[in-house]
């Protein structure tokens, strides 16, 4: 199958600072990539560049034809819940359908089809009852589901999540990962997390990001391999996860 996008020899960063260099990565339609790495390693920078929030300093990101067709935007983005201003006067329904804005012209209203699609998605995600609530009235987990709906409503081909587990409790975290596993049947997913122990049981492959990117084409990764990738990460095994797929090297 054809790839969705290819990052070629890319350097990325900010005006005065190159954070990532020589990044090569191909994202395929069925991928579920776990992005790991130390604090300040450049994970968020990588995602922001892929989302078009930062221009690449060198190299390029080549999007496949299917990612560019029409004015549609084919990347769904789930930001961290804490980035949202919970006091903002906006309802759940308005937040979710704003995910359709990329295909709208500057003026005009939402069509009936778009409103129905929004309602259907809310129903599917089990938050239809919340549609008239303001975002300030939601719990962290509920708000995250709302933001996930916003990212999904335009049927993206790639879903990007930056540390979705940081501000929600364990129950919602598990729920989210299970949901992602189902969503992965329809779209590629890139997930940043510090919680390597947990995500390795959900993702298919791993990208270690620390100034460079090392792609690991499997979800089984050992401490030694992480060291070889110059990706110093503490691996915490979670007892409640039935099968932690981390390979401990035996001596």
């Amino acid at each position: 199958m054809e790839s969705l996008l290819e990052i070629r020899n890319m350097s990325a960063g900010y005006e005065k600072k190159v954070v990532l260099s020589n990044v090569n990565l191909t994202v395929n339609p069925e991928d579920f990539i776990g992005v790991i790495g130390p604090n300040g390693g450049g994970k968020t920078t990588l995602l922001k560049t892929m989302l078009g929030l930062l221009p690449p300093i060198k190299g390029e990101i080549v999007f496949n034809e299917s990612m560019r067709e029409g004015s549609h935007h084919h990347i769904g983005y789930l930001p961290q819940v804490n980035r949202i201003d919970k006091k903002f006067p906006i309802t759940v329904f308005d937040v979710v359908r704003s995910g359709l804005m990329s295909r709208k012209r500057l003026v005009g209203r939402y069509s009936r089809e778009e409103n129905e699609r929004t309602a259907d998605l809310l129903q599917k995600m089990g938050i239809y009852a919340l549609r008239k609530k303001a975002v300030g009235e939601l719990s962290g987990g509920q708000l995250q589901r709302v933001l996930l709906c916003r990212a999904l409503v335009n049927q993206p081909k790639l879903l990007i999540l930056d540390e979705p587990n940081t501000y929600v409790d364990n129950k919602f975290e598990r729920e989210l990962y299970e949901r992602l596993r189902i969503l992965n049947k329809d779209m590629a997913i890139m997930l940043v997390s510090h919680d390597v122990g947990t995500i390795t049981s959900y993702v298919k492959t791993i990208a270690c990001v620390n100034r460079n990117l090392h792609y690991h084409p499997s979800n089984k990764i050992s401490t030694e391999q992480l060291a070889a990738y110059e990706c110093p990460i503490q691996i915490i095994s979670h007892g409640q996860i039935p099968h932690t797929v981390l390979l401990q090297h035996d001596h």
Binding site: L51, G52, L53, H73, I75, Y77, P79, R83, I84, D85, F88, P89, I90, T91, D94, V95, S98, M101, S102, K104, L106, V107, G108, R109, Y110, A134, G136, E137, R150
Partner: protein, 281 residues
């Protein structure tokens, strides 16, 4: 106190009525944007920077409001530009602009030979002396604000709620930020005549605080804010006329009292019965 009907026969009162209506519309719409986006402090900076323009107007012998308009819009665009580009701490930069504008204004007013007429009405507002020319100027800005907010309502909500997400969707975020902050400056300057420099920020925030008791919806908050601002301005206008006090002070006084009554009422209602909740619009 004269009867209400007889007041309306005076020409100045009719002008004041229209000024109050247009002040309410612009402050209701633009104020909701300011409060939702948490740029109250930035707007305060723009307000006080425009006092520099008033001083310059006196000094050069041109209309002080024209000076305020230029200073207001330039400082708005400056804030929008610099807080994004340069490595300045936003709040200190704005505080500096705030003080700098006031300083320029005071210096120019003192340098102007003779007495500065109407200075008090720019500081405290005087809705009762609004002229036909003022009304025309207010009318143009009010039309621009209404047209922009109605036409681009959805996009305004989109870029305001989550700017980064809007950017990932290729929305014209920067353009909208620039236009919106300019409309903020225009609204502030046009309402200086009504409530004065010192109190104009209250007219852009108190009606929203009152609306917030009843709604958490951007659009509804705009409409309710216009209504509450209008109630407050009319009550203030009558106060101002009957007791001969500056309109700015009386309008804000009326609005705060209105807020107090409704807030206490809503808290009281919620205490009274747990099932009895205020209607949420």
């Amino acid at each position: 106190m004269d009867s209400l009907a007889s007041i309306f026969q005076f020409g100045f009162f009719q002008n004041a009525f229209w000024a109050a209506l247009m002040a309410s519309i612009t402050c209701g719409l633009v104020g909701t944007y300011i409060v939702s986006r948490r740029i109250v402090f930035i707007s305060g900076g723009i307000t006080h920077a425009s006092f520099g323009g008033i001083g310059l107007g006196y000094f050069l012998g041109i209309n002080p409001i024209l000076g305020a308009l230029i200073f207001g819009v330039l400082s708005a665009l400056g804030i929008e530009f610099f807080t994004r580009k340069a490595d300045v701490r936003e709040d200190s930069a704005i505080a500096m602009l705030w003080a700098f504008g006031m300083a320029i204004g005071i210096i120019f007013v003192y340098l102007t030979p003779g007495y500065a007429p109407n200075l008090m009405s720019y500081l405290f507002g005087n809705i009762l002396t609004v002229s036909a020319g003022n009304l025309l100027f207010m009318g143009l800005i009010t039309l621009a604000v209404i047209a922009f907010f109605i036409t681009f309502f959805r996009m305004i909500l989109f870029v305001s709620f989550d700017e980064e997400f809007a950017l990932t969707n290729n929305a014209p975020v920067r353009l909208f930020n620039l236009v919106l902050i300019s409309l903020v400056a225009l609204t502030i300057v046009m309402n200086i005549r009504v409530v004065g420099i010192i109190l104009v920020m209250s007219l852009l925030t108190i009606p929203q605080a009152i609306s917030n008791i009843f709604t958490r919806n951007f659009g509804t908050m705009m409409i309710l804010s216009v209504i509450f601002a209008f109630i407050g301005s009319m009550a203030g206008l009558l106060f101002s006329y009957s007791f001969n006090i500056p309109s700015g002070a009386s309008i804000i006084f009326a609005l705060v009292i209105l807020f107090g009554i409704l807030k206490l009422g809503s808290v009281g209602l919620e205490r009274l019965g747990k099932n009895m909740r205020l209607p949420r619009v």
